[in-house]
């Protein structure tokens, strides 16, 4: 199981919290230098996996090897090889950005000189130089996130874990964060990333594993997954609730799979292949039947669509 070109290998991971089974036998394999996206809704078990792999939590069963080192047998050796940025930015709010990074460098035993140099380098790399000597409680959410990520990189770890790195960031900060992560990965770092956004997994990950109720319910490349769930979604809202089924019947031939209707919202959603063209055709069809439409659009698939396709139900919080 200890092949040199596999950076993270996980087999049969189980974790229970009393009645709740947070992980129910998870297997993962991340080849060196690639990015694995763990995609799942709230309570799926993403953080539990990250905490076990970063030695913060003991599993009830299963084993994990990181960079050739057994996580359970040699936790300290594993810690030398990994960087972690947890779900909630763990920066010390009373220290400055510089002091936070310098402290982490010292605790990785980089030595006094090297720790300082590295702290300055990282502040520069993450556009935090100007704020570097301010206590971090004056930082914005995005700045804290960046500093936390910088903390994970202090010792140039070969394996990196990022738990929902962009949750809570505005669209611009999110795009910036993606850029930073892509740069890292280009440098050869192996990355395990968790996210609730299909789009994020699509942009950043080579492979995606969909997690639900502590189990991997689908896996593959972003393209494979998208082929499985279909591409863009056509979404229509009709004015008259009574004619929703009629509208669904009319547009069915335009989709790659049958539409799903939501009576409450008077809307239907259907996977289509030729986005805008399908939209125009659908609107023409409905108009010819004098079926009034309140809202119409084409959008990329979301995590909800993935779940709709894979499990037949939308995302819901695990018990």
């Amino acid at each position: 199981m200890n092949t040199p070109d596999v950076a993270i290998e996980v087999a049969g991971l189980v974790k229970r919290y009393g009645e709740v089974t947070a992980l129910d036998g998870v297997d993962l394999q991340v080849p060196r230098g690639t990015v694995l996206g763990l995609l799942g809704p709230n309570g799926a078990g993403k953080t539990t996996i990250v905490r076990i792999l970063t030695t913060l939590l003991q599993p009830d069963a299963g084993r994990a090897v990181i960079d050739g080192v057994d996580v359970l047998a040699e936790p300290r050796e594993v810690r030398r090889r990994l960087g972690l940025s947890g779900q909630y930015a763990a920066v010390d709010e009373y220290l400055t950005g510089f002091e936070n990074l310098d402290m982490i460098g010292r605790l990785y035993h980089l030595g006094r000189r090297r720790s300082r140099e590295r702290a300055r380098e990282l502040l520069e790399q993450f556009s935090l130089t100007d704020a570097g000597d301010r206590p971090t409680r004056t930082y914005s959410g995005g700045m804290r996130r960046r500093l936390d990520l910088a903390g994970a990189l202090v010792a140039h770890p070969p394996v990196l874990f990022l738990d929902e790195p962009t949750t809570g960031l505005d669209p611009r900060s999110r795009t910036e964060m993606w850029g930073v992560i892509q740069q890292l990965v280009a440098g050869g770092t192996t990355l395990l990333l968790t996210t609730q956004y299909l789009e994020e997994a699509d942009v950043l990950a080579d492979d995606i594993v969909v997690i639900d109720h502590g189990r991997a319910i689908a896996r593959g490349t972003a393209d494979q997954l998208k082929a499985q769930i279909g591409g863009e979604r056509l979404e229509l809202t009709v004015s008259d609730e009574g004619r929703l089924d009629e509208a669904a019947r009319l547009v069915t031939p335009l989709g790659v799979a049958p539409p799903v209707t939501d009576e409450h919202r008077r809307s239907l959603t259907m996977p289509v292949s030729g986005g805008v063209k399908a939209l125009r055709q659908a609107l023409d069809l409905l108009e010819s039947e004098a079926l009034e439409v309140d809202d119409a659009g084409v959008r990329r698939p979301t995590l909800d669509d993935v779940f709709l396709t894979l499990t037949g139900s939308t995302t819901e919080e695990s018990p």
Partner: protein, 270 residues
Amino acid sequence: MSTLDVVTDASVVAKRNLIKIKRVPDLLVFTTLSPIMFVLLFAYVFGGAIDPTGGGAAYREFLIAGIFAQTVVFGATNTGAGLADDVKKGIIDRFRSLPMAPSAVLTGRTLSDVVNNVLVLVVMSITGLIVGWRINTGPLEALWGFVLLLIFAYAISWIMAWLGLLIPSPEVINNASFIVIFPLTFVANTFVPLDTLPGPLRVFAEWNPVSAVTQAARELFGNPDPNPMSAASLAWPLQHPQLYTLIWAVAVVAVFAPLASWQYRRAASR
């Protein structure tokens, strides 16, 4: 993990905690202003009430060591509240994911609280000197008195460290520890002579380690009880206050340092 790593890691963590004291106005106030207030309040309010004829001067001198003991014991709450805060904010998770010495977070924490207590004792001593307290012994004896107070507070810090990791809520820790610390520091010889206490309370006070460390400090500073009881009527801990304080401190560290370390390994945030 070399011994050197263990020491540097602890000092890195201790330095981080001390920076926090500098940056958080509340802590700085607690560290410097409240000790001054304690000395003034207790010296004049209690001193005047208990010894109205003498103008309170003798009792003021008697009280100072009690105020010192009470304040450093209260200071130990910082240890618990600080650790609880770190668990809550995920800082402990960050530490636990680093290849540092696992002991460093706790030793660093308790050490920085010793430094904090040194500062508190300096501030209180200066205030005490201003209101008429004097050290009537040699410098070495006095120094040993201060060291005993610090050792005692250090031991209490380990109890608080364990509590802070067990109950990771700074507010709960503050309230819970006050419930324990108030009786511990008041049912003692800190502010009133023991012979004023009724039977069961008096027994508790005689065996209370806070009484012993206070008694030891009084002896070492040369601040005797203005109405001394005969030595024979004192319980064993108060006849050997230095020894009792040391035994007690060693026992507490021996029990609570392993407990706190064990709790640290399983501390989980959110």
